[in-house]
């Protein structure tokens, strides 16, 4: 124990190395969060500023007035996560089963490249496809499937499509890492013991790749529950999410205590996700 104990010199060196980053984190990340937490229990003053007395009104309003938006945001995030899983799992599996490593790399690259272009540009690209005089409506009308252009944009569906488009790589990469490490001899053993493909998948492949599935799901769920840009540009009034509520409360005619309370609720939802991840989503050390 004596050798493991910190010597004075070592503590000083660590303080020098970790000090600046820690001060930065405390000052420009943690302290602002504490301010928001405190503000969420205050009343609204002139110009939306937080003033005493202390009250729980903001939380009450958050759950009553904004309740439906919060429920919808959770729904949108869950549906987005499920869709990413349904699309991402087969894709990750497909890529990892290519024999040539160069093909695998290229296929992964094709997933990641759109991801490296600016999020707003990608969202705009999707908007041009979905808008009233966009390519999809034009195609459907030329095929005679519809006579009037459909309202695709500014719906909740559009927000979900936009979020899936934006966060699919977050799902593909962890699942790919899991499937890549999967020992195919287990699958052969399952077949030898009489399991068909479906059974082998659900009893062997899926359980063994579950950490990747959970990690991917959390990586999609967390940013989508707090999404702001996608619902703002693609959702219209019907697709509003928690992020838009927060933004509107911190704007010109806002209410900072109310916006702070909504932020705290969002944080709570995110931490539920983090808990799920730390409990079930980490690969066991081998």
């Amino acid at each position: 124990m004596a050798r493991r104990g910190a010597e004075p010199g070592e503590v000083a060196r660590s303080a020098f190395l970790a000090g600046p980053a820690t001060v930065w984190l405390v000052l420009f990340f943690l302290l602002p969060l504490v301010f928001v937490a405190v503000a969420s229990f205050m009343s609204r003053g002139t110009g939306g500023a937080p003033v005493p007395p202390v009250t729980l009104d903001q939380y009450e309003r958050t759950f009553t007035v904004f309740g439906p938006v919060i429920v919808r945001s959770v729904n949108v995030a869950l549906v987005t996560t499920a869709l990413c899983l349904l699309l991402g799992y087969p894709l990750a599996f497909f890529i990892s089963r290519r024999r040539d490593p160069r093909v695998r790399l290229f296929l992964l690259f094709l997933v990641l490249l759109p991801f490296w272009t600016n999020f707003l540009v990608r969202t705009y690209a999707l908007i041009t496809i979905l808008q009233r005089d966009g390519l999809l409506n034009g195609l459907l009308m030329r095929l005679g499937a519809i006579s009037e252009p459909l309202q695709l944009l500014f719906t909740q569906g559009a927000v979900i499509v936009g979020l899936v488009y934006g966060y699919l790589p977050f799902m593909v990469l962890p699942i790919y890492a899991s499937v890549e490490r999967l020992d195919m001899r287990y699958v052969e053993a399952a077949h030898d013991l009489g399991a068909n493909d479906l059974r082998a998948f659900f009893r062997v492949v899926l359980p063994l790749t579950l950490p990747g599935v959970i990690a991917g799901s959390i990586l999609v769920f967390i940013p989508t529950i707090g999404a702001f840009v996608t619902p703002d540009l693609m959702g219209g009034t019907r697709g509003l999410m928690i992020g838009n509520l927060i933004q509107s409360q911190f704007g010109g005619r806002g209410n900072i205590p109310l916006g702070s309370a909504v932020s705290m609720v969002l944080l709570a939802l995110v931490f539920v996700g983090v808990l799920v991840y730390t409990r079930w989503g980490q690969e066991e050390k081998t």
């Binding site: 707003l120 390519l135 707090g226 932020s263």
Partner: protein
């Protein structure tokens, strides 16, 4: 395969077996088809919007669904600074675009330099040092990665507002948000990402190399610059590249902490999308996509060269 000796029970069993085999084969065939069709559709979904955007940036007309012939005039308009759309107050101008690019680069370079230095030092302390509270500190630095950017953005905005008010009351100096606030905000989230990347590199590094250097009489500073730093370099560069990309790309946190005259490129694009969209936006987006493809390609080449030996 049937034999006359098989009784009716045996035949039933064989029939069930054959039926199950057929079903299993059907499952396999559906599975095989789905294994090809689903990824194909996902790739279409990922790429069609981008390809359409690029193709229609050369369309002779403002439509993004009807092809009217090839033109490069939108690109020429950007080059010549010729205005074709937008209201009087929100006209698109090349000068403003270039200014936004410049602002983005200023922010990204400054934030990357500071965040890489702080993040690397922190990684060394957390990986090598033994001090009280190390575990707590370690998990605290994951918070900026998981907490939604909108929360980070608004909480910092509230914080800066309070500080600026206090400064005005105490010193009579009026501070406003601008480059300083954006760069501070970007450093705050980038340190965590640099930490994650550099630590991954530190974890694969052989600690006996540092011990050997110290046994040979090098002090801590010499050991760091002669041994640790050169080995860590690829990790530090990768961390810096990630920080730079995140900084260039950030919209939400910048949105809440920018001031007048510090519009970054993402803020500029957002402004265009919210107001009347000029037809040049396809060309601008295509240029942005081209730049990111070139950057990603270059970084991949660099990495390959780095791990080539």
């Amino acid at each position: 395969m049937s034999s006359p000796a098989v009784g009716s029970e045996g035949r039933d069993a064989a029939g069930i077996h054959a039926g199950r085999l057929r079903r299993d084969l059907a499952v396999r065939r559906v599975g095989q088809v789905a294994m090809w069709v689903s990824p194909f559709l996902v790739y279409l979904f990922l790429w069609v919007p981008i390809v359409v955007l690029i193709v229609f940036s050369f369309n002779d007309g403002a439509s993004v669904s009807v092809w009217n012939g090839f033109t490069t005039r939108w690109y020429e308009n950007i080059l010549n600074n010729t205005i074709t759309a937008g209201t009087e107050s929100a006209r698109f101008q090349t000068g403003l675009l270039l200014r936004a690019v410049r602002n983005s680069l200023i922010v990204a370079v400054a934030a990357t330099l500071v965040a890489t230095a702080l993040g690397t030092m922190l990684a060394l302390a957390l990986a090598r040092g033994r001090f009280p509270g190390r575990k707590t500190l370690d998990s605290l630095f994951y918070l900026p990665v998981v907490i939604p950017d909108i929360t980070q953005g608004v909480s910092l905005a509230v914080f800066f507002n309070l500080v600026f008010e206090a400064v005005q009351r105490a010193l009579g100096v009026r501070l406003v948000p601008g480059f300083g606030t954006i760069i501070i905000a970007h450093i705050a989230f980038n340190v965590s990402y640099v930490l994650i990347v550099v630590r991954a590199r530190l974890a694969t590094m052989d600690p006996t190399l540092e011990e050997a250097a110290r046994d040979l009489g090098a002090n801590h500073v010499q050991t760091f610059w002669r041994v640790t730093f050169p080995i860590l370099m690829p990790g530090i560069l990768a961390g810096a590249l990630l920080a730079f990309t995140l900084s260039l790309d950030d919209f939400v946190i910048t949105f809440f902490n920018a001031g007048v005259g510090t519009t970054t490129l993402p803020l500029f694009v957002y402004g265009m999308l919210k107001q009347r969209v000029p037809p040049e936006i396809n060309a601008i987006s295509t240029l942005m996509i081209a730049v990111s493809i070139v950057l990603v390609g270059a970084s991949l080449l660099l990495q390959r060269r780095g791990s080539g030996d």
